[in-house]
C-alpha cells in the first residue's frame, strides 16, 4: 500500500464543493428531496418541517449537515458496494456489515430530508483511492481496514461539529444520536480487524494500519478542560477514555482521496 495516498493532497475545491449551498441547490433534484422527505422518520420529519416553516436552516447548519451528508454518502456507498461484491467473502461478519449498511442508508435519508433542496449531490467515489486499496472489494482485510478508518473518522467528524450545532437543540441531538451509532460501528469493526488484540477503543494515536495514521492524529490527547485525565489512569487508558474531534478540513483531507468529483 502507498501509505501517503490516504492522507494525500486535499483537492482544493473539495471543501467548497461540499459546502457550497448555491451549487448544491443548482445541482440538486428537488424531486429527490421531496421523495426523501416522504420516507423520512417522524422525528426528523418534524425537525425538517420546523426548519422549512422558518423558511430555511441557517447557512452554518446547512454547511454542517451537507458535510455530514457527504460522509454518509461515502459510507453508504462503501458498504453497499462491499455487500454487493461477489468477490468479497465477508463470512461470519456479513451480518455486522449489513446492520452498519442499513444505518448508513438511514443517515443519508435523514440528512437529505432535513436539507431538502439544499442537500449536496452525492459525489463519485473511488474506494481504491486511486489504486491504493485495489483489493478493497475482494479482500475482507482491506475492506475492514477501510471500514474502520471511515467509522473512526465519522465519529471524529460529528464530534467536531457538535459545537456548531449548539444553537439548534433538535439538530444537535440528532447529530449526537448519529455520532453514537458511528461509535458503535467503529467499536465493532475495530474488533473484527485482522490485527491481533485490536480494541474497540483507540489507544493513543496508534493503529495497526499505517495508512490510517491521519485518522488517528491527535487521539493521544489526554487534557480536557485544563485537566490531564492521565493522572487518573495511564496515558494509554486516558487516551482510550476520550475520543477526539477533527475539523471539517481534517476530515475532508482524509476523505479526499476517495472522492473523485
Amino acid at each position: 500500500m502507498k501509505m501517503n495516498n490516504l492522507l494525500g493532497g486535499l483537492d482544493p475545491d473539495l471543501a467548497a464543493r461540499v459546502l457550497s449551498r448555491r451549487e448544491a441547490v443548482m445541482r440538486s433534484s428537488k424531486m429527490a428531496g421531496a421523495l426523501a422527505i416522504a420516507s423520512m422518520p417522524v422525528a426528523f420529519g418534524l425537525m425538517a418541517k420546523k426548519a422549512f416553516a422558518q423558511g430555511t436552516l441557517p447557512q452554518p447548519i446547512i454547511d454542517v449537515l451537507n458535510f455530514a451528508l457527504t460522509l454518509e454518502y461515502l459510507e453508504d456507498e462503501f458498504y453497499r458496494a462491499g455487500l454487493d461484491s461477489p468477490d468479497l467473502d465477508l463470512g461470519d461478519t456479513r451480518t455486522v456489515f449489513e446492520q452498519i449498511s442499513a444505518h448508513e442508508t438511514d443517515h443519508v435519508t435523514l440528512l437529505e430530508g432535513a436539507l431538502g433542496a439544499s442537500a449536496v449531490d452525492k459525489p463519485t467515489f473511488d474506494f481504491t483511492a486511486g489504486g491504493t486499496f485495489d483489493d478493497v472489494f475482494s479482500n475482507p482485510a482491506t475492506f475492514i481496514t477501510l471500514a474502520q478508518g471511515f467509522e473512526d473518522t465519522g465519529v471524529r467528524a460529528y464530534k467536531g461539529q457538535a459545537g456548531n450545532l449548539i444553537s439548534d437543540n433538535t439538530i444537535l441531538t440528532i447529530a449526537l444520536q448519529i455520532h453514537a451509532v458511528e461509535a458503535r460501528h467503529a467499536s465493532m469493526v475495530r474488533r473484527l480487524s485482522q490485527s491481533p488484540g485490536e480494541k474497540g477503543w483507540i489507544t493513543l494515536a496508534s493503529n495497526s494500519v499505517a495508512a490510517l495514521d491521519a485518522v488517528y492524529a491527535g487521539e493521544d490527547n489526554t487534557v480536557h478542560l485544563g485537566v490531564d485525565a492521565a493522572q487518573f489512569g495511564t496515558a494509554e487508558s486516558a487516551s482510550e477514555a476520550f475520543d477526539e474531534p477533527l475539523s471539517r478540513e481534517e476530515v475532508l483531507a482524509i476523505a479526499g482521496p476517495f472522492i473523485v468529483q
Binding site: 422518520p41 457538535a162 449526537l176 451509532v181 485537566v227 482510550e240 477514555a241
Partner: protein
C-alpha cells in the same frame, strides 16, 4: 390622669412578666376589670429574679431541625432569653455550636441577627446522627446538646451546565463502581478477552469519574452510595447484561444531555466521552451475542432512522434508581 394611666401600664407590664415567670394562669386586673389572661411556660430553674435585659444561657432556647438530609444545610436558630424567659431583642451575645457524631465540626460561630436571635448553619455530609452542643457566652443553652438525625440526603445536582456535568458525574460514579466490582470479583469462566475488555472499561469509567470530579472541583456532588444487590457478580449473564444496560443508558443520557449544555467546551467533552460509552456498549453487546447485529441492535438504534436513543434526565435517573441509594435532586437541571 396621664400619670395614673402610665402607672397602670407599668403595673400591667410587671404583672405580665410575673405571669410568665411563675407559669401560672394569671388574671390581670386593672381598675376592677379583667383585661387579660396569660398562660406562659418557662424553665423550672427560673427564679424570675434576673434583670430583664440580661441574657441567661440556661433560659435561652434553640430551634434545631430533628432531621436533615446529608448535603443540605441544617439551620439552627437560637433565641436569647432573660432569666424570666422573655425574649431578648438585642444582639451581642457570643453563640457557637459544636457538632459531634457523624459530621463532627466546630465550634461554629453563630451569625448575630441583632435582634436576640442567632443563626447557626452547618451542612452534614454523612448520613447518621449528630449531637449539637450550643453555648451562649460559654454556657450551654436550654436543651443542649440537641440530636440531629442526618438522612441520606437528596443530592442536588446544582443548576445550569454544572448540573449537567454533575448528572454525568453521577452516572460515571455508578458505572465505575460497577466495573470496579466486576474486575475485583470476576465471574466464573471469564475469558482472557472478557477480562481485558472489562478491565479496560473499568479504567475508562474510573477516569471519566475522576476527571469530572476534578473538572467540577468545588461544584462536584458528593460520592453517591450505590447498591448492586440485584447483580449476581458470579454470573456472566448477570454482569454482562447489567453492563449492557449501563452502557446503553450512558449513551442515551449523554445524547439527551448535550442540548442542555450552554458551553461548547463542555459539549465537546461530553461528546468525547459519549462515543467511548458507545464503543463500550457495542463491545459488551458483542460479547453477549457475537457477530450478530446486536452491537448496534434495533432495540437501541432505531432501524427506521438509524438514530441511537436520547433520554431525558428523568428517564435516565428512573432507570438508574434501583442502583443508586443516594437520592438525587435533579430539579436544577436545565430543561432545554
Amino acid at each position: 390622669m396621664i400619670d395614673r394611666l402610665n402607672h397602670g401600664l407599668r403595673e400591667l407590664d410587671f404583672l405580665a412578666r410575673l405571669a410568665k415567670a411563675t407559669s401560672r394562669r394569671t388574671f390581670l386586673h386593672w381598675s376592677g376589670v379583667t383585661i387579660a389572661v396569660a398562660t406562659v411556660g418557662c424553665g423550672d430553674d427560673d427564679d424570675g429574679t434576673g434583670p430583664s435585659g440580661t441574657v441567661s444561657a440556661a433560659d435561652s432556647t434553640a430551634t434545631v431541625p430533628a432531621m436533615v438530609s446529608a448535603g443540605s444545610a441544617a439551620t439552627i436558630t437560637v433565641q436569647a432569653k432573660n432569666s424570666a424567659g422573655s425574649n431578648i431583642t438585642t444582639g451581642g451575645a457570643t453563640v457557637s455550636a459544636t457538632v459531634m457524631g457523624d459530621n463532627a465540626a466546630g465550634p461554629i460561630a453563630a451569625t448575630d441577627n441583632g435582634n436576640g436571635t442567632y443563626t447557626i448553619t452547618y451542612t452534614p455530609a454523612n448520613a447518621g446522627t449528630d449531637t449539637v452542643a450550643i453555648t451562649l457566652n460559654g454556657t450551654a443553652i436550654s436543651g443542649s446538646p440537641f440530636t440531629v438525625t442526618v438522612a441520606a440526603g437528596a443530592v442536588s445536582l446544582g443548576t445550569g451546565d454544572i448540573a449537567v456535568l454533575n448528572y454525568a458525574y453521577a452516572l460515571e460514579q455508578l458505572e465505575a463502581a460497577f466495573y470496579v466490582q466486576v474486575v475485583t470479583t470476576p465471574y466464573s469462566g471469564i475469558t482472557a478477552e472478557e477480562t481485558a475488555i472489562l478491565t479496560d472499561i473499568r479504567d475508562h469509567e474510573v477516569i471519566h469519574r475522576d476527571f469530572l470530579k476534578a473538572a467540577l472541583a468545588a461544584g462536584a456532588i458528593p460520592d453517591l452510595s450505590v447498591d448492586f444487590t440485584a447483580v449476581d457478580f458470579t454470573s456472566r449473564d448477570s454482569v454482562l447484561q447489567t453492563a449492557r444496560t449501563f452502557e446503553d443508558l450512558g449513551v442515551a443520557a449523554y445524547n439527551g444531555a448535550g442540548q442542555l449544555l450552554e458551553s461548547a467546551d463542555y459539549l465537546l467533552v461530553a461528546g468525547k466521552i459519549v462515543s467511548v460509552e458507545a464503543r463500550h456498549a457495542a463491545a459488551i453487546r458483542d460479547l453477549l451475542n457475537p457477530l450478530s447485529a446486536d452491537f448496534a441492535g434495533d432495540d437501541v438504534v432505531d432501524p427506521t432512522s438509524g438514530l441511537d436513543r436520547a433520554f431525558t434526565p428523568t428517564q435516565v435517573l428512573t432507570a438508574a434508581d434501583p442502583f443508586v441509594v443516594t437520592p438525587i435532586d435533579p430539579s436544577g437541571l436545565p430543561t432545554a
